[in-house]
């Protein structure tokens, strides 16, 4: 379970997260929506300790993420993250991309790592691309590679930072379908996304962020289909029109 | 350390060293200016494929870029002697530097020119500009911006390479330093001062270049 308590985060003088309280239970799918600059992506980076927080606590599986004694490299093995710009490693093949971390971080043998990597790559539909270099793949395929690469570490949670925003429209579907598969598998997911329809169909909970605070949070039936707050209504009408 | 530094000897000879530095500067400046002229000619010949000159141009560039500067200087000073041409040390070094600079600058020009997006050309054509106008107002200014930094580096290179004059008895900074130190045997002090002078000259040139750049390229990327 992920437990976020009163988290504040600033970049210099600019406070980007102004007191976030949030829980994500095992198997839950949380979608975070909101306009750019509302702090959504920053929260994800705080959860896996890429960014530091100034106040509050984030607890992942009973581990305090930002405690000085916490081994953050080890912690990140429980949290898989996929980025807007897939960031595939250009100097490695698709298979090597997915097998690298299990081999290097978990100290698996090359063969063991390859078995796991192949399994995850097939799971996301890249079974025929093992020996290709990422630059030869489409954006959608590279994004699925990024997902498989993260899954190969067998994380307990997956964090998705607007993973379809940089894709050509016709490639978005294949990536969202992959996320649906993960949901079926029971993966706990936090998705920062602009795809409102997806958020409505797939999430258990939706949180609307604005200016560093959670304006509204609840099941998609409520937040998206029947928003209570005016700010939420305004945002949705702009995005859905 | 048993050595006693005697800086006075050097300080007395400073004016003569400064004269040497002046020679360094003007041989470098000349080699750049004349080098640019030749580079432009070579570039034109190559781009328009004017045979047989384009073969000469290719050979010039490849030899200049693939052989040592000292070799060029020896060729100019000793090699030409076989043809009865005896150049003074100054002229030999100058010729060698011109030869090399023009070779490198042609490639710089070519790179700068090719890095301008082709869309600049089509955009200006569709505005109705003639070929000459496109060069003058759109292509050449952009090219200049891109070659400015490499050209500054080439100038600094010329200044540093002129030091090879020491080996053919030229009276630029290194040559003068050599001559003066051999009169007093304060080798270490003289060459330390020479090193400092080269460093200062280089820094001043780069400073002047960046100041000029700020004035010339205001507001551009």
């Amino acid at each position: 379970m992920i437990n976020i308590q009163n988290v504040h985060k600033s970049f210099g003088d600019l406070e980007v997260l102004k007191g976030i309280d949030l829980d994500v239970k095992k198997g839950e799918v949380l979608s975070i929506i909101g306009s750019s600059g509302s702090g959504k992506s920053t929260l994800l980076y705080c959860i896996n300790a890429i960014e530091k927080i100034q106040k509050g606590k984030i607890i992942v599986d009973d581990i305090d993420v930002h405690h000085p004694d916490t081994n953050q490299d080890q912690l990140r093995q429980r949290l898989g993250m996929v980025f807007q710009q897939w960031n595939s490693f250009p100097h490695l093949t698709v298979l090597e991309n997915a097998a690298l971390a299990p081999r290097v971080v978990k100290k698996m043998s090359k063969d063991e790592a390859i078995v796991i990597a192949e399994k995850e790559l097939i799971h996301v539909g890249l079974g025929d691309k093992f020996d290709e270099y990422p630059t030869k793949l489409s954006g959608g395929q590279q994004q699925r590679l990024a997902i498989a690469r993260a899954l190969a570490m067998k994380p307990n949670y997956m964090l998705f930072d607007e993973i379809t925003s940089a894709l050509d429209p016709e490639l978005v579907g294949e990536v969202l379908d992959t996320l649906r598969i993960l949901r079926e598998d029971g993966m706990t997911m936090i998705c920062v996304t602009h795809e409102i329809a997806f958020a409505r169909d797939v999430s258990d909970t939706v949180a609307y962020f604005q200016h560093g605070v959670i304006e509204e949070m609840g099941p998609p039936d409520q937040v998206i289909s029947n928003p209570q707050k005016e700010t939420t209504q305004k945002f949705l009408s702009k995005v859905l029109s | 350390m048993d050595y006693e530094f005697h800086w006075n000897t050097v300080l007395q000879k400073l004016p003569e060293m400064l004269e040497g530095a002046f020679v360094t500067l003007h041989v470098s400046v000349l080699s750049m200016l004349i080098g640019i002229v030749f580079a432009v000619l070579l570039a034109i010949v190559r781009m328009n494929n004017i045979k047989p000159f384009s073969y000469v141009a290719v050979a010039w560039v490849e030899v200049a870029r693939n052989t040592p500067a000292l070799f060029q200087i020896y060729m100019a000073y000793f090699g030409l002697g076989a043809f009865g041409i005896h150049l003074s040390p100054y002229t030999a070094v100058l010729s060698a530097l011109i030869f090399i600079n023009s070779g490198y600058l042609v490639e710089t020009f070519r790179g700068g020119f090719q890095s301008i997006p082709k869309t600049q050309y089509s955009a200006s054509k569709s505005l109705g500009m003639t070929g000459f106008q496109i060069y003058r107002y759109i292509l050449l200014p952009q090219m200049f911006r891109r070659i400015y930094h490499p050209m500054t580096n080439q100038f600094v290179w010329s200044i540093l390479m002129s030091s090879l004059g020491i080996l053919v008895g030229m009276s630029e900074l290194s040559g003068e330093t050599q001559r003066l130190q051999s009169l007093s045997f304060r080798t270490l002090e003289f060459f330390i001062v020479a090193a400092c002078m080269y460093y200062l000259i280089t820094k001043l040139v780069l400073l002047a270049a960046s100041l000029a750049a700020r004035k010339l390229f205001r507001g551009e990327i």
Partner: protein
């Protein structure tokens, strides 16, 4: 012009070959040491604070702003004065390697800087430690990108090796010099020497350009 090879006896050829060998060996030493040090220094500069960077940068700047010939003469005079003279090969190797390092460190610094921060974030997010990310992500990517520039510096070193003759090292140009004064045939000998440098440099520099073009795709 007369017969090209008449004045060259078997001894002379051997003499020239020593020059060739000495040129090759000092170039290789300087390239290898310059590259290794350049990678380390380039990496340090890429990852350091501004203070360290500026100090290191100033030192490297001096190496690049004083002519190589002056550095060689200064160093050999200095060690002589100190009472620890070194043979020309060692002295020349030290200075040429440092000189090479100064340029190589710029090349590698650019390479490491060019690896997008996002790549490193991706590596860390997978649970890789800082050094694992450096070894498996930053380093391999950075090195590949800079190969053409590295080659450019390496070729310059081969040409600059000619200058080590100033401190008494019998590299190619110096041996040819002696041969010229003996045989009074400057042109043929110089042409042969020039051909040597050209034959090494030209194919390698064009290979480098080809790699550069392939990478740009």
């Amino acid at each position: 012009m007369g017969s090209l090879f008449t004045p060259l006896s078997w001894n002379d050829t051997g003499f020239i070959l020593i020059g060739v060998w000495n040129t090759i060996i000092i170039s290789v030493v300087a390239i290898v040491i310059g590259t290794l040090l350049g990678i380390i220094v380039g990496f340090i500069r890429s990852e350091s604070s501004k203070v360290t960077n500026t100090l290191l940068g100033a030192f490297l700047d001096i190496l690049r702003s004083v002519p190589l010939i002056i550095q060689l003469v200064l160093f050999s005079t200095f060690i002589g004065v100190m009472g620890h003279p070194l043979n020309p090969f060692i002295a020349g190797s030290i200075i040429l390697s440092l000189y090479t390092m100064a340029f190589m460190s710029e090349v590698f610094r650019g390479g490491f800087d060019s690896v997008a921060a996002a790549m490193k974030v991706a590596g860390r997010s997978l649970g890789m430690t800082y050094w694992q990310t450096v070894s498996y992500v930053s380093f391999p990517i950075g090195i590949r990108t800079v190969f053409p520039s590295w080659l450019g510096v390496a070729l310059s070193v081969i040409k600059d090796s000619a200058l080590v003759s100033v401190i008494g090292y019998m590299e190619l140009l110096r041996t040819s010099d002696q041969l010229i004064s003996r045989t009074q045939q400057p042109l043929e000998i110089l042409l042969g020497v020039g051909l040597f440098y050209f034959v090494i440099s030209y194919p390698l520099s064009h290979y480098g350009k080809k790699i550069e073009r392939n990478m740009a795709l």
